[in-house]
Symmetry: C2
Subunit: 110 residues, 2 copies
DNA sequence: CACAGGTGTCAAAAAAAACTGACATATGTC
DNA sequence: GACATATGTCAGTTTTTTTTGACACCTGTG
């Protein structure tokens, strides 16, 4: 139920995924009940291409999980649900994650 | 020591403030010991104008606190320190914050 | 077959965030 | 006075993120 402390890069990915009003709404909504893309788009009030992108970001951060299912009438429907993550943030937490935070400015080797 | 649950807008401001590698490093570094702007810029390895901007964002989110002090030799030095916040994030936490999350797309009245 | 409703992708535009260099101010020391 | 160190700001560029509209695909129903 609880998560092991994420690496710096993971932490950054998670925080970046959370730092957006749409994505907070998506996550909060999915925490109540799972839903599929088109429906969720209507509920939240944004377009499907946009929602799709946001879901990608959330899934990449491990905050949401999507499963493609076949409904009774044979149509492909992709359901998303919130993973039950638990992340505690304090200055200490962050300090401990720093060693594993990659510097993107670094130059690659020959 | 613990924070009362932030409003949706506050939560978003905090998350946005954290969602950046430089700012994570700043926060982590300040969690060890307070430091002043120019010094901190050298430690972290970024320019002062840039650091200044990041500190603004962190302070606006309440994650960092700055105090202008006069050093022994009379120079004005601005010290920053990390506030001891504690934020727990779960799908539930987020869901509870949603009602107080402002929709920026809203139209203003006449 | 046309339609409704589901899936996804792509490129281009718009908006927001990050970054940089130049500038201005102040104080103590050589 | 020139220099070193501290503070901050501002405009303009670059980069990243967000958003939109147009596609294409599949399946069951009228």
């Amino acid at each position: 139920m609880d998560d092991s402390p994420p690496t710096g890069d993971e932490l950054l990915r998670i925080l970046s995924a959370l730092a957006n009003p749409h994505r907070l709404r998506i996550l909060g909504t999915l925490s109540v009940r799972r839903d599929y893309v088109s429906s969720l788009a209507r509920v939240i009030g944004i377009g499907r291409p946009l929602l799709h992108m946001h879901l990608q970001r959330l899934e990449a951060a491990g905050l949401v999980r999507g499963t493609l299912e076949l409904s009774n009438d044979g149509k492909a429907v992709k359901y998303y649900e919130a993973t039950d993550f638990a992340l505690t943030l304090t200055p200490e937490t962050i300090r401990r994650a720093l060693p594993t935070l990659t510097d993107k400015t670094e130059k690659k080797e020959t």
